[in-house]
């Protein structure tokens, strides 16, 4: 009994390999989540590479510049997240609130642009899960509709991650306002947020930029 009493109880932060158990758990989750993304990306690469002659050029229907700007916004929100973590470590609560809020704004902005992009593509370009824009078919009559299906599959799965991240960050910000936060908790939400940024970097390149 005396040995058990020596172990810190109820803190949830007993170190595993030099990190807290909460952080370790988040990394394990990100590992499995990365596998999900990798499955989708591998499928995308195989489908596209296997029939590249009937695969529409992304730049013919997707707004590259708009999405490049959105990528910029997401990278900025990752930087504001590390700023929030640095403020948390320095015990600067006002700074923590400010940078967390800015991170949430960045994520929400990203989602807003994605919603605008989907609206343009679906209702103006006619790019859906089963249809292609008229000008794409005109250019390449055999073009495959898998282009739309894989595009929405990948970007929507990522978009849900951003949405989850915005909700997660908002909950953490509310907890900060309530005075219930730890540096560890800020670091864990940061890990999730940076992962979403990391995955987007890969998706942006292979879905939008590679011709």
């Amino acid at each position: 009994m005396s040995e058990a009493a020596a172990v810190p109880q109820g803190t949830g932060s007993k170190p595993v390999m030099g990190v807290t158990s909460g952080k370790f758990a988040m990394w394990l989750f990100l590992g499995s989540d990365g596998m999900s993304f990798m499955g989708l990306i591998a499928t995308y690469v195989a489908l596209r590479w296997g029939q590249h002659e009937i695969w529409p050029k992304p730049s013919e229907s997707l707004a590259i510049n708009l999405t490049a700007f959105n990528t910029f916004v997401l990278i900025c929100s990752s930087v504001s997240m590390v700023k929030a973590f640095a403020a948390a470590r320095a015990g600067n609560v006002a700074g923590l609130k400010f940078w967390l809020f800015l991170t949430i704004v960045g994520g929400a902005f990203f989602l807003g642009v994605q919603a605008y992009e989907y609206n343009q593509l679906i209702f103006h370009e006619n790019l859906t899960l089963t249809t292609l824009p008229a000008h794409v078919i005109e250019h390449n009559p055999n073009a495959t509709t898998l282009f739309g299906a894989t595009f929405y599959g990948l970007t929507c799965f990522h978009g849900f991650h951003v949405l989850s991240g915005v909700i997660y960050l908002s909950v953490v910000l509310i907890l900060v306002f309530l005075g219930s936060w730890t540096v560890n908790r800020i670091e864990i939400v940061g890990l999730y947020w940076h992962f979403v940024d990391l995955v987007w970097i890969v998706i942006f390149t292979i879905v939008y930029l590679v011709e």
């Binding site: 390999m17 030099g18 990190v19 370790f24 990394w27 394990l28 990100l30 590992g31 499995s32 990365g34 596998m35 990798m38 499955g39 990306i41 591998a42 499928t43 690469v45 195989a46 590479w49 296997g50 730049s59 590259i64 510049n65 490049a68 990528t71 910029f72 990278i75 900025c76 990752s78 930087v79 997240m81 590390v82 700023k83 640095a86 670091e187 940061g190 890990l191 940076h194 992962f195 940024d197 990391l198 970097i201 890969v202 942006f204 390149t205 292979i206 939008y208 930029l209 590679v210 011709e211």
Partner: protein, 94 residues
């Protein structure tokens, strides 16, 4: 692990990532005029991987964790690679 090193120069990494993003978009746009498909592909994927690694190493602080921990969290990458390589025969023998 070392706490004193856990504050990398975030601004330098941020600037590097923005520059790489701009270069990527430029490379993709230039390709529409040239026939450098393979080189552009290698450049684009290389720059994307560089950015992803920067995020993992510095923003996610992997650079400052213990070796054991890095090995544990990198393990899924091996399986992810198998996912991709496992599909290659399907493309090759189509």
């Amino acid at each position: 692990m070392s706490e004193e090193h856990a504050h990398p120069n975030y601004m330098a990494i941020f600037v590097t990532m923005i520059v790489l993003t701009v270069l990527e978009v430029l490379a993709a746009k230039l390709y529409s005029f040239d026939g450098w498909a393979l080189i552009t592909l290698i450049l684009l994927v290389g720059m994307a991987i560089t950015k992803a690694v920067l995020v993992a190493l510095y923003f996610m602080h992997l650079r400052f964790e213990t070796k054991t921990f890095v090995v544990v969290v990198s393990a899924p990458l091996v399986f992810a690679l198998i996912l991709v390589l496992g599909l290659l025969p399907d493309i090759a023998f189509r």
